[in-house]
């Protein structure tokens, strides 16, 4: 196929890196962003941190060195995929700034998403029972609780998942990707709404225009 033309993807992918303490909502937002990117016809790979660990790094545990190595591997896979036009999503705690900065330096297009959520809220959510296990004394290496979590200094996007719905957070990420020029803007804009909630351009309106175009021989 001719260079510069791609059937399903744009020339350069982007590494979208979600960082935040456990249970902050990284994976939930990532899944919605993944779907939104696919709907725009882009190639997407969501590198699930747990899955990558299980397949590529089963020997790694949770020490700083092991976390270091794991994020390095994730970033490397991201590099290989993005240069082939894939949008790569990583949702990983990645507690240290240099983990994230290293990933940033490895790819052309990088978008750091800080999934910000107060520790108390994360403890209440606790979908994997991690905080409960900490309370029971079974784990003592949770970032943000036992171990440091270095908050991003200038992430591309900051989400506040205790104040936003998952959809709202995902929309923020998509908007930023558009703004950065990493993805083309959606062709169909959100229909503006008049005061009073009535849409300016309704399905009925479009049906009328279609009928006219059909009569005119265009359809």
């Amino acid at each position: 196929m001719q260079e510069g033309f791609s059937l399903k993807v744009h020339p350069e992918g982007t590494l979208i890196w979600f960082t935040g303490i456990p249970a902050s909502g990284k994976s939930s937002v990532a899944v919605v962003v993944e779907k939104a990117l696919r709907e725009r016809g882009l190639k997407v790979e969501n590198l699930d941190a747990d899955e990558i660990r299980a397949h590529l790094s089963p020997e790694l545990k949770w020490s700083k060195e092991d976390r270091d190595l794991n994020t390095k591997r994730l970033a490397y896979i991201g590099k290989m995929l993005t240069r082939n036009g894939v949008f790569v999503i990583v949702a990983a705690t990645s507690s240290y700034r240099y983990f994230r900065d290293r990933a940033r330096s490895m790819v052309k297009n990088f978008c750091e998403v800080w999934v910000k959520c107060p520790l108390e809220v994360c403890q209440r959510r606790d979908p994997k029972g991690l905080y409960k296990r900490a309370k029971d004394g079974e784990v003592n290496d949770i970032a943000g609780l036992h171990q440091p979590y270095e908050e991003p200094l200038s992430p591309e996007v900051t989400l506040e998942t205790d104040k936003e719905t998952t959809q709202e957070s995902a929309a923020k990420v998509m908007r930023k990707l558009e703004e950065l020029g990493f993805i083309p803007p959606a062709v169909e804009a959100k229909e503006p709404v008049r005061a009073g909630g009535e849409e300016v351009y309704t399905r009925r309106d479009e049906a009328k225009i279609k009928a006219r175009l059909r009569r005119l021989g265009y359809l």
Partner: protein, 477 residues
């Protein structure tokens, strides 16, 4: 949009130090042969512009259709950059979701966006793809792609009352185009044109403007409806009809109306006369989906009982390679594995499949077995830009556009000579007209190599406004 990625908007180039008032009169579908040759002697006002300025044939977009053509003129962006390739476009990679491109689909700056930002006063009337209207520094009346006159078709909204006070019911478009009642059709076309020019004249006189652009759809409508009466080469021509001169008479009427606008525009204004594409006789229709069935590319679970739209037919998608859409040009979509839900074509085989189908299309002959010289374009070869992947997988000019394409399925043959929805005598042609009349300049004569993309840069340059660096056209001078 600003940013650092590949889809950013680049910075602007230097300022041009002069400013003129520019009036653009758009005549949808006006063909060079009629305007510059056959009728010119009867069109005194247009002749004055042609003889006193630069003129020539202007190349339209691929495809040469109202959308995207006019928007290419006012943005200087080609379809792969704009993201629409006709009125109707695929919304996604499903088999049936479509959207009609409207003003909200335009993500690039139009002339009126740029000029409004620069503080210039604009007046826009009837330019396709302006509905829903957007705020401008001036006013805007939308085009025939407006649901009806109940809709808010003006900016500011109060303008509607002023228009209706002036002409009564404003006519966005002829309402009953597919009619054998030619008398009525003719009446509607004249009524529409009369009203549009009356409104244009009113605002030219009553408002302050730096840039004024109107598009009249009448030429397109009269050509589609009356070509067979006027062209001895048309299959359905029979001499001596009372409509033999209908198209010429209409252009004479248009010329008078244009003369009235020129008088109101002032002696020092630059005038541009332009069409978005041309027109020529229609030879027939190729029933694109019936052809795809006959070639084994489109597989149905059951034979259609009578004519139906493809959406109504039972397509066996798992075994289908390609399907098509009708219109003045043909569009073919491939059913690609991993892209369409029940895709069949292996992505590695994409281009080979394009080539194979294109080759077979070029071999299609007319009902008498004669060559019709169809042309087939691959999007990756004719488009560039961020939206190329949204284009149809093949764009087809059957019989060099003399044959249109029909999407309905269930015809007895691959040729038909009446459209399902009624008569149509003309098709589109790739070349439109362009005239640039600048009373301050002595440059006259025919110019070649013009493209619709040259519209926006030429106008910005005349008005002393910087041309956006990513505009694709050149300045005509």
């Amino acid at each position: 949009m600003s940013g650092k990625g590949p889809f950013r908007t680049p910075a602007r180039t230097g300022r041009v130090p002069r400013s003129r008032k520019v009036l653009v009169i758009g005549l949808d579908s006006a063909p060079p042969k009629l305007v510059f040759e056959d009728y010119l002697v009867s069109l005194p006002h247009i002749r004055r512009l042609v003889e006193g300025g630069l003129y020539g044939e202007i190349e339209s977009t691929i495809p040469p259709i109202t959308i995207p053509a006019w928007t290419s003129f006012v943005t200087s962006k080609s379809p792969g950059v704009l993201g629409f390739f006709g009125f109707r476009n695929r919304k996604d990679y499903s088999y049936d979701e479509i959207f009609i491109a409207n003003s909200r689909s335009i993500k690039e700056d139009t002339l009126w966006d740029i000029l409004s930002r620069e503080g210039k006063k604009v007046g826009i009337i009837g330019v396709p793809q302006t509905y829903p209207p957007k705020p401008v520094n001036g006013f805007m009346i939308t085009s025939f792609l407006t649901p009806d006159t109940e809709s808010e078709y003006t900016y500011p909204p109060e303008l509607k009352g002023e228009i209706e006070g002036l002409v009564g019911r404003y006519v966005l478009d002829v309402e009953d185009f597919r009619t054998e009642d030619k008398e009525n059709l003719l009446h509607q076309i004249y009524d529409m044109t009369e009203k549009r020019f009356k409104v244009a004249g009113h605002f030219l006189k009553e408002t302050e403007w730096d840039f004024f652009m109107m598009v009249e759809m009448g030429p397109d409508r009269i050509q589609h409806g009356f070509w067979k009466f006027t062209d001895p080469a048309h299959k359905k021509y029979s001499p001596g009809s009372k409509y033999e001169n209908s198209i010429r008479d209409y252009y004479v009427f248009l010329d008078e109306k244009i003369g009235e606008l020129l008088a109101l525009a002032g002696d020092d204004s630059v005038v541009i006369l332009v069409s978005d594409h041309g027109a020529k006789k229609m030879d027939g229709c190729i029933n694109i989906n019936d052809w795809l069935v006959s070639e084994g590319y489109l597989v149905l679970r059951s034979k259609p009982q009578g004519l139906m739209r493809l959406e109504e037919a039972e397509v066996d998608w798992e075994r289908t390679t390609a399907w098509g859409w009708g219109g003045y040009y043909g569009r073919i979509f491939l059913n690609v594995k991993g892209r369409e839900k029940e895709g069949l074509v292996e992505p590695d085989n994409y281009e080979a499949t394009q080539d194979e189908i294109a080759g077979r299309i070029r071999a299609i002959r007319d009902e008498a077995g004669r060559q019709i010289k169809s042309r087939v374009f691959k999007p990756q070869e004719v488009y560039h830009g961020r939206y190329v992947h949204r284009a149809p997988d093949l764009i087809v000019y059957f019989g060099d556009l003399h044959w249109r394409s029909t999407g309905e399925i269930g015809h007895a043959s691959i040729h038909s000579f009446e459209t399902e929805i009624g008569p149509d005598d003309a098709v589109h042609d790739e070349k439109g007209i362009f005239v640039l009349y600048d009373p301050r300049k002595n440059k006259k004569g025919r110019v070649d190599g013009l493209h619709l993309l040259d519209g926006a840069p030429t106008i910005l340059s005349l008005m002393g406004i910087p041309i956006l660096e990513d505009m694709e056209g050149k300045v005509i001078e």
